[in-house]
Amino acid sequence: MSGFSLRWYEEFFGSTTWTDALKNSLIISPLATLLAVVLGTLAAIGLTRASFPGKALLVSILISPMVVPVVISGVAIYLFFSPLGLSGSYLGLVLAHAMLGVPFVITTVTATLQGFDFNLARAASSLGVGPVGAFFKVTLPIVGPGIVSGALFAFATSFDEVVVTLFLASPEQQTLPRKMFSGIRDNISPTIAAAATILVLLATALLLVLEWQRRRTEQMRGTAGSAVRPPRRGLLRRRMFEG
């Protein structure tokens, strides 16, 4: 132990296996997040607005990827995707990671929507912007923070995912956590510590964004006043994490 140096960061950024892994993570996670957010948000709106028999069961099924042991999902997807040519491909990983992220989007967006007065959207749409316009002009800004939280969760899930990647990925799709997993198995080198630091910084950034979003929501609640029925502070958070 002699002083500090940036040597291990150089090693991290100088080694193609690590930078490739980081690059793969930065390709796969955002795409998976996008897919999870689009599908999850649409479904959350549908689930909040429609009531039909078996809805509770459907919700339970839609968020069950969160509780099914991930090894089982991993093996199942792997054996199922292989004949389709999807294992060892970016597309396969994106689909699988999106699947794991969807439950978080559903729970966070549903939680926000429960406090949302849909009459606003109806009013907007009757004022001539049409239902899609109403969605982008009225609904989205208000439920936005919920979507952002869901997206952050989906992103974090994908960005930290090892098990499904372990089964599904070829060496070309080696992600950062996958690389860390084999690194920890072999030996904990200072390069791993460098990678870990990067991940901790990322976690801090995610957390700060989330905290900022939360404060903004609280402020908006102040200005928009009656626009959003006051959802209690605890609700949002509990629902976010409860999943």
Partner: protein, 348 residues
């Protein structure tokens, strides 16, 4: 008004097809090996010079010998691994099950130039390695000399490391129980022999720590987590080069060859042959054996090596005294059953 959603889907579809297309077009070859120091040496001896010579990029992957991915790829005709490094039993079993191409040696080189065991139906040996008993001479005043000492918990208190798996572990147990190297597989071929090996392992079970990756034993020995361990000899030699005072006991070591093979149905078969031919030629093999202490399979590479280096290799006559040649046929037949039994035993 549908634009944003459509756009998103379009973007997603475009970007993913771009990746799929990227793989198909670029001149790349995916080579999977055992990782760690082996892979580092392979990079230096094979991957980099090969890329320089041919302009083909090597995507280097690592694994611990699991055959599942290869089977899934071959079964579904979606093979993305082009060349694989394998231990002998996996090669022979995989060959039987159709996982690997039957090799056309005309495309690789004259089979007379290789040690006889290196040439088989579906694979070409790339190096000879050995599982040895290793310890840290800075930490042990009395030196272990055999697997019997490995079992002597009183004389050498502390944890011992063995590779997690039945292969080599059961042989080691029998050697420690006094079975002669030449008889190991005859004994292990009987029900009583297997019982005997597990009973022997039971004696030191509380003192055992299992390792999986070859990089672990030297590290755990140097850190003092283990008092002694089985280890791949090359990893120990690499650690010695890094200044660690690790020692090898050659008597009772078990040697085997690792092979290159081509998974059945890879679209890059021609390139795979090109790579294997390159990696089996004397020059690169010599570089490899200078990087890591594993014996070359190309006889011309053996001749070209520094005699001092040869003494470190599992193939040095002195090191072969009292060593066991891993019996591939035995492990082809009994591997699955014994691995499952071992796994159940270890988890209890």
């Amino acid at each position: 008004m549908q634009t944003p959603k459509t756009l998103v889907i379009l973007a997603l579809a475009l970007s993913t097809t771009a990746f799929v297309a990227a793989r198909a077009n670029a001149e790349e070859l995916t080579v999977i090996s055992f990782g760690g120091a082996v892979q580092k040496a392979q990079e230096k001896a094979y991957y980099e010079p090969f890329s320089k010579e041919t302009g083909i990029k090597i995507v280097a992957g690592e694994y611990n010998g699991e055959q599942a991915k290869i089977k899934a790829m071959v079964d579904t005709k979606n093979v993305t691994w082009d060349v694989v490094e394998l231990e002998s039993a996996e090669l022979y079993r995989g060959c039987e099950e159709g996982l690997y191409e039957q090799l056309d040696f005309a495309k690789i080189g004259d089979t007379k130039n290789f040690v006889p065991k290196a040439v088989s139906e579906c694979g070409i040996g790339t190096f000879v390695w050995s599982t040895v008993l290793a310890y840290d001479a800075d930490k042990l005043t009395t030196r272990p000399a055999s697997w019997q000492d490995f079992w002597d918990v009183r004389k050498f208190p502390g944890k011992r490391g063995l590779r997690k798996g039945a292969k080599f572990t059961l042989e080691i147990a029998l050697l420690a129980d006094g079975v002669k190297p030449a008889d190991v597989y005859t004994v292990l071929g009987t029900k009583e022999g297997v019982e005997r090996a597990f009973a022997k392992l039971d004696q030191i079970k509380p003192n055992l720590q299992w390792w999986e990756a070859g990089a672990q034993p030297p590290q755990m020995l140097a850190a003092g987590d283990l008092v002694m361990s089985s280890a791949y000899n090359g990893r120990i030699a690499t650690a010695q080069k890094e200044g660690k005072n690790l020692k090898i006991v050659w008597s009772g070591s078990i040697y085997d060859a690792d092979h290159w093979a081509i998974p059945t149905g890879t679209p890059k078969q021609a390139l795979a042959y090109k790579f294997i031919a390159f990696a089996s030629s004397p020059g690169p093999q010599k570089v490899y054996s200078s990087e890591i202490a594993y014996g070359p399979t190309n006889l011309k590479a053996v001749e070209a090596l520094d005699p001092k280096r040869v003494a470190d290799l599992p193939t040095a006559p002195k090191n072969l005294e009292g060593a066991v040649a891993s019996n591939t046929q035995f492990w082809v037949e009994h591997g699955e059953e014994l691995e499952q039994r071992f796994n159940a035993w270890a988890a209890k």
